[in-house]
Symmetry: C2
Subunit: 197 residues, 2 copies
């Protein structure tokens, strides 16, 4: 069954070790922020610093693992038809819109959407780490300068993850215009059991 996250929204769900998660870009050019937590001990969560260190790369794609702050493998990327994700930048929040867009009125954000759906599991805003930003196209040059470019993902592109441990997953359809090529779109996902894969 394929689930849809409407534009500017998010969700959270659990995944069993061995299950697969397919995150799909139904219209193309849309980013999805993903947070992973150990549902049996919510202090263990996805770590950008540990992942970049152990995978020895800024760019994380097929065959790479996503690691936790306790140095456990949380997921492996099995397939990535777009081959561009970001693991440098924090989820967009109200300060993002003030800083980059000079927008000071309330606006949906990935941080709020992640926190809203993680709250019932006891995880609050402050505890949400840097997300794995699926399909996000962050360019960097040799001087380290960062530019957020429109995603290269086209309609139908997907990333297939395998759960290396039981997981609590929070997922968004990102709310920052520049990250999504200028307009907001939906994200889809599918949970696939090992026997069906």
């Amino acid at each position: 069954m394929i689930y849809t996250i409407s534009k500017l929204c998010g969700t959270a769900f659990t995944l069993k070790k061995g299950q697969y998660l397919k995150v799909i870009n139904p219209e193309g050019a849309q980013v999805s922020d993903m947070i992973l937590v150990n549902p049996h001990d919510i202090k263990e969560k996805i770590s950008s610093g540990k992942t970049l260190d152990f995978e020895e790369s800024i760019l994380i794609s097929t065959n790479n693992f996503l690691w936790s702050n306790r140095s456990n493998k949380m997921m492996q990327i099995i397939e990535d038809t777009n081959d561009r994700n970001d693991f440098l930048l924090a989820p967009c929040d109200s300060s993002t819109f003030a800083h980059f867009y000079d927008m000071h009125d309330p606006h949906p954000s990935c941080l709020d959407n992640l926190a809203r759906h993680l709250k019932k599991y006891g995880i609050m805003h402050d505890e949400i780490p840097t997300a794995f930003n699926i399909f996000m196209n962050v360019a960097f040059d040799s001087m380290g300068t960062i530019r957020v470019l429109p995603p290269t993902a086209v309609a139908g592109d997907y990333v297939l993850f395998k759960a290396e441990m039981d997981l609590l997953v929070a997922l968004t359809a990102c709310s920052a215009k520049d990250s999504n090529g200028g307009c907001f779109k939906s994200i889809q996902y599918e949970i696939i059991n090992p026997v069906d894969h």
Copy 2:
């Protein structure tokens, strides 16, 4: 007064808004991991994801700010005589030594040294985020591949930070051989009042 952190050790102290912190490389080629926390509310802490996002750079040096997970400025870098720091990689811990060095016996680590000195403020291992790795020389290419190289810092190099808010600071003399050009050395620091600067 100049304080010395012995090789393979760490410390923690508070800094008032407006004070300066000078982190010095007394022998050269030594890394120092730094964690910043709001002493009035320890859930607010330094954020790599927010800093790289708002500073629009992987490389953080003179004039850049270090930002918190609540999007507040924690420090500004006023002077950086070496001009090379890292904000990508997690502090070294026991898993680092197992993963990269095939060392499974107990070994001092930045994570343990940070946690030991932050424990009395109520901050535990799991809550320590990616540190700002002063003097750490992490090279990356256009494919995103990361290589940890010996620090370029020579004896006497320093980074001068200004506190933009009251801060709890934890600082180490890093314990990972590859990050420090093959041998462990001390780190020094000085707290300077605005009137003395």
